[in-house]
């Protein structure tokens, strides 16, 4: 194709998109002279260039549209009809352009009817009565950028440019004018084909590889003269890489350009009033990624307009403004871009999604019953789900969000949804800035090296069978005790089926602690090497189906290695795939509240036919001991355990200590003391949200709950501790006056669990089941020396309680300790700012006691 024509096509396509969105804005702000001037400039350029390239159909259309727009400039009111007509004209222009692209000439045909309509409308507007109206005086509100023409010049150019009516061929003035204008702009920026950039990028990638190779060689030689120039080369390469990456960056607004027009068209088609707000359009990201999110974004905006926003009457009835809003927002966060698509419409219909999910067999009803609304809403990402009853031309066919999710998956991003009935829906997309070069940790298993993307790696822990950190097992599930939490583990050897199956579960090596969204897990590898910048190369089509890998790369030493996909590994845990990151603060705390309600329970059998359970986090260790090593003293049983004698307790009458074979034990430790519960069988570990019935009167049982569809007794560990050591609770109690502590938690289960612990620490304990109740107790004159409160509670949560107490002088100084199951950095920060003295993980009994003692000591010194 003619170089000039090609350039014209690219440029015109871009201009038209700008005119599209410009007009939609102009329709809403008819007095904005700047927008009008911009539209003029663009349409004018199109018209001028068309004349120059001898494209009469386009020139005629552009001229007619321009004449009509000239009326707006003259101050005639901007009507929706007129804008619609111009938009139709622009669509026609685009059609012709597409045809030119394939056929290289203007297609045959006539636009007379369209031009006639444009002319007629322009004519209708030029009625003298209207003409008397205000003539908008045009002043640009900013200094001209180099290359821009003043409005006067533009005006003159506009007048001097002949329309096709003048029937003059293109060899005259307009062409020259346009050219000189072009060359002025050209001095600022130049057009480079994507191909050239891609090639540059490939070369830089190769350079990075070669640099890595050289560095690798230099690493092996102790002292060479190459070191210094190599370092320099390395720095220059890094800068070059950054520079080239920058050329690939484009504002996300480029992907949004078509949306204002889309929303406008949808509004009139659906008879709704919709406003589109865009924030952060200047946020830049890699063009490859930009291309891939364009369609998903368009789809989501379309969904919001069609399903989300209600009809005006419905909105008014719901007490909302007639005009609905769809908001697009983009921002950088770390190495990621966060894009939010939100609307203030009716929200997702959880009930409907639920019944669809059942109909499609996505989950059994019993499981859905246990799910929170947020979990059910995630089903919209499943194939075939549509909550729209009617299939419209716009959406509702049930193909959609699953495609959106898979598109976003492909670029290593995540998507999450949050919806409040009647208030709207927010989709949050998190995607990496660039795909090409990432920082990766190189690890090895069974002699094979693999790369793990550094973004997902939180830390490394060395594990050894006899070391401080070691792999422990619950039934067959490997876990690692890590920062007061149990971290599920996966053996890389076993996961990738490497080498001899007998060596799949070696407990020696390193645990790479990974975090994806709210989920943490560990990957056990044999060795860990250095971190390296790697150039991600896509997998061959024959390997693309392997979930475990996201790509491959060539290392410094020339070897090809596979890049592990953290999402793929996480999926192997079979846990509910984390649908994404919530960046919104409230979404985060909601997500935390969700997990807070979930408790990991260890299910076991002991005596009774019904299963029993104990919170997993209370259990220090699971042991299987040789029954013969159990010693009995009278009716008490003891065992040598780690250099101490550990008492064994039978929970209930009918549990018998075995006399031969192995005996499973649940070990509980507190400081240097341990005791073990004798059980018949360890059944399972489940993580569930459960309601506990606390009415139980049996000793040693807190109550019962339905776990996995079975009535399960929840064992009260606090009851058995004093049975092991008569002084267990008394020992750590300071022999001072009892201090009064208020424990606030909405869960009866946790209150019951913590009270014995706190009593043991020497406090007299009062409990409250809500923030309001606690606040009432304190204001009602309850003299408390210390408040320990859960953070996640309905209505008044822990933070609100702290604010309320801090606000009153009488209660402002009471020490407060926050409890949470999910301490995150952000949460800790909020807690500090709310005036808490300390923050403890809910199950960290030792941490809690230490924190309480720390608070108790300053209290005595203050009192003295």
């Amino acid at each position: 194709m003619d170089e000039l024509l090609r350039e014209f096509l690219t440029e015109t396509h871009e201009s038209l998109d700008l005119v599209d969105s410009g007009l939609v804005r102009f329709e809403q702000e008819p007095n904005n002279a700047e927008i009008l001037a911009n539209i003029f400039r663009l349409v004018h350029t199109i018209k001028g260039t068309c004349g120059f390239l001898n494209l009469p159909r386009l020139a005629a259309l552009a001229h007619a549209a321009e004449s009509l727009m000239g009326r707006f400039r003259d101050g005639y009111p901007v009507t929706q009809d007129a804008v619609s007509l111009i938009l139709t004209t622009l669509d026609r222009i685009k059609e012709i352009l597409d045809a030119i692209e394939t056929q290289q000439t203007e297609p045959a045909g006539t636009d007379d009817n369209l031009i006639a309509r444009l002319d007629a409308m322009a004519e209708a507007m030029s009625q003298p009565a209207a003409h008397a109206g205000s003539l908008v005086y045009q002043v640009l509100e900013r200094p001209l950028k180099p290359g821009e023409a003043t409005l006067d010049e533009l005006e003159r150019a506009f007048r001097e440019t002949p329309g096709p009516a003048a029937a003059r061929p293109a060899e005259t003035a307009p062409g020259r004018f346009v050219q000189s204008n072009d060359s002025k702009i050209a001095s600022q920026s130049i057009r480079v084909t994507v191909e050239t950039l891609e090639h540059l990028m490939t070369m830089v990638s190769e350079l990075v590889l070669t640099r890595n190779q050289l560095m690798e060689l230099a690493r092996r030689q102790a002292d060479t003269d190459f070191k210094q120039p190599l370092q320099r080369l390395s720095n220059v390469t890094a800068e070059l890489q950054e520079g080239v990456m920058k050329t690939r960056m484009q504002p996300i607004g480029n992907a949004w350009q078509k949306l204002p027009r889309l929303v406008r068209d949808l509004s009139s088609e659906l008879g709704k009033q919709i406003e589109l707000e865009m924030q952060g359009a200047e946020t830049e990201l890699d063009r490859q990624i930009l291309d891939m999110i364009k369609d998903p974004l368009t789809h989501m905006v379309r969904n919001s307009a069609d399903h989300g926003i209600e009809a005006p009457a419905q909105r008014l009835a719901a007490g909302k403004p007639e005009r609905g809003t769809i908001r697009l927002a983009a921002r950088h966060e770390g190495g990621h871009i966060i894009i939010e698509v939100s609307d203030d419409g009716r929200g997702l219909d959880t009930r409907k999604i639920r019944s669809k999910a059942i109909a499609l067999g996505l989950a059994p009803e019993s499981e859905l019953d246990k799910m929170s609304d947020a979990q059910i809403q995630r089903f919209i990402f499943a194939a075939g789900i549509s909550t729209s009853d009617t299939i419209t031309g716009i959406s509702g066919r049930g193909v959609g969000m699953d495609v959106v999710q898979s598109n976003i998956d492909q670029i290593g991003g995540t998507i999450d949804v949050k919806s409040v009935p009647g208030q709207g829906t927010v989709f949050t997309i998190k995607i990496p800035l660039t795909l090409a070069i990432i920082s990766a940790l190189i690890v090895a298993a069974d002699g094979e090296r693999f790369a793990i993307p550094q973004v997902a790696v939180k830390e490394l822990v060395r594990v050894r069978g006899d070391g401080e950190h070691r792999v422990e097992r619950i039934k067959d599930t490997p876990v690692l005790r890590h920062r007061n939490k149990l971290l599920p583990l996966i053996f890389l050897r076993k996961f990738l089926r490497l080498g001899d199956p007998a060596e799949h579960e070696s407990g020696n090596g390193f645990v790479v602690v990974m975090q994806i969204g709210q989920e943490s897990f560990g990957i056990l590898v044999d060795r860990v090497f250095h971190t390296e910048e790697i150039v991600v190369k896509p997998l061959a089509s024959k390997l693309r189906h392997i979930q475990a890998f996201s790509g491959n790369t060539i290392l410094g030493d020339g070897a090809v290695i596979m890049i592990l996909d953290p999402n793929g590994v996480a999926a192997a845990f079979g846990s509910a795939r984390s649908a994404g990151f919530s960046t919104d603060k409230s979404a985060e705390s909601e997500a935390q509240a969700q997990t807070a309600k979930k408790t990991a329970l260890l299910i076991f059998r002991a005596g009774s036919p019904s299963p029993r359970a104990v919170p997993l986090s209370l259990v220090t260790r699971l042991e299987e001991v040789d029954a013969r090593s159990i010693e009995s003293v009278g009716d008490r049983h003891l065992i040598q355990y780690r250099g101490h004698l550990m008492p064994l307790i039978c929970p209930g009458e009918c549990v018998r200590v075995r006399e031969s074979g192995t005996q499973p034990l649940l070990v509980f430790s507190d400081g240097d003391r341990s005791m073990a519960l004798v059980v018949d069988q360890i059944v399972d570990i489940v993580e569930e949200e459960f309601e506990i019935e606390v009415s139980d009167r049996r000793p040693g049982i807190l109550g019962s709950a339905i776990v996995k569809g079975e009535a399960t007794d929840i064992v009260d560990v606090g009851h058995y501790l004093p049975l092991a050591y008569a002084d267990w609770l008394g020992s750590s109690a300071p022999k001072r006056i009892r201090r009064h502590l208020l424990l606030v938690d909405d869960s009866a289960f946790f209150r019951n669990m913590l009270v014995p612990v706190l009593r043991a620490a020497g406090f007299s304990v009062t409990t409250a089941s809500s923030g309001q109740e606690a606040f009432g107790l304190i204001r009602g004159g309850g003299a408390f020396d210390l408040v320990v409160t859960d953070l996640q509670m309905p209505d008044m949560d822990g933070i609100a309680l702290a604010h309320a107490l801090r606000a009153e002088p009488a209660t402002a100084k009471i020490p407060m300790i926050a409890l949470s199951t999910m301490p995150t950095a952000d949460m800790i920060d909020r807690v500090r700012r709310a005036g808490f003295h300390d923050f403890v993980a809910k199950f960290d009994r030792q941490g809690l006691i230490a924190a309480i003692k720390e608070q108790a000591d300053p209290m005595t010194s203050q009192a003295a």
Binding site: E448, R497, A540, K542, L543, I546, A548, A559, V560
Partner: protein
């Protein structure tokens, strides 16, 4: 340059040895032949995939022709590879040894025997009678179509 007539009647083949059998690959599909150096296994991949290799800065998928054709491994061979391209991707077909290029006409051509091993039959497009044995012509596209064979196996 061969004239049109002989193009139809004869074709050139790169001959390769796998086990004790001679095979022919259409020369038009062969990009290059190279000595295999370092090969990286790809866990969880199909058995026919030997791994991935770095071929002058490109990552190439290596297909183990022994496995692919059901020739039992004998601890030898697999030292060479034939580079081919298909649908914009590069592959290396791992073989034991490469021989000369043969120009064979229709006069020696035979259809694939009906009783040939199923795995071979699916990827063979014909057989040539040579003085010193038989040459099985392989269809490159069918060689790369890993799925159906997997299902059949």
């Amino acid at each position: 340059m061969p004239d049109t007539q002989s193009q139809i009647l004869s074709s050139e083949y790169v001959t390769v040895m796998i086990g004790s059998q001679l095979f022919g690959l259409p020369i038009s599909r062969v990009q290059d032949v190279f000595v295999l150096q370092q090969i990286t296994r790809v866990p969880l991949a199909s058995d026919d995939i030997a791994g991935v290799i770095n071929l002058r800065g490109r990552i190439v998928t290596a297909i183990d022709l022994r496995r692919r054709l059901g020739v039992p491994a004998d601890g030898r061979g697999g030292a060479m590879a034939v580079g081919i391209e298909s649908e914009g991707e590069s592959y290396g077909l791992v073989i034991d040894a490469v021989g000369e290029v043969l120009k064979l006409g229709i006069e020696t051509a035979e259809p694939v025997p009906v009783n040939l091993d199923e795995r071979l039959k699916r990827v063979a497009s014909g057989v040539h009678r040579l003085d010193n044995g038989l040459l099985v012509v392989l269809d490159v596209d069918r060689l790369l179509d890993l799925k159906p064979i997997e299902l059949a196996a």
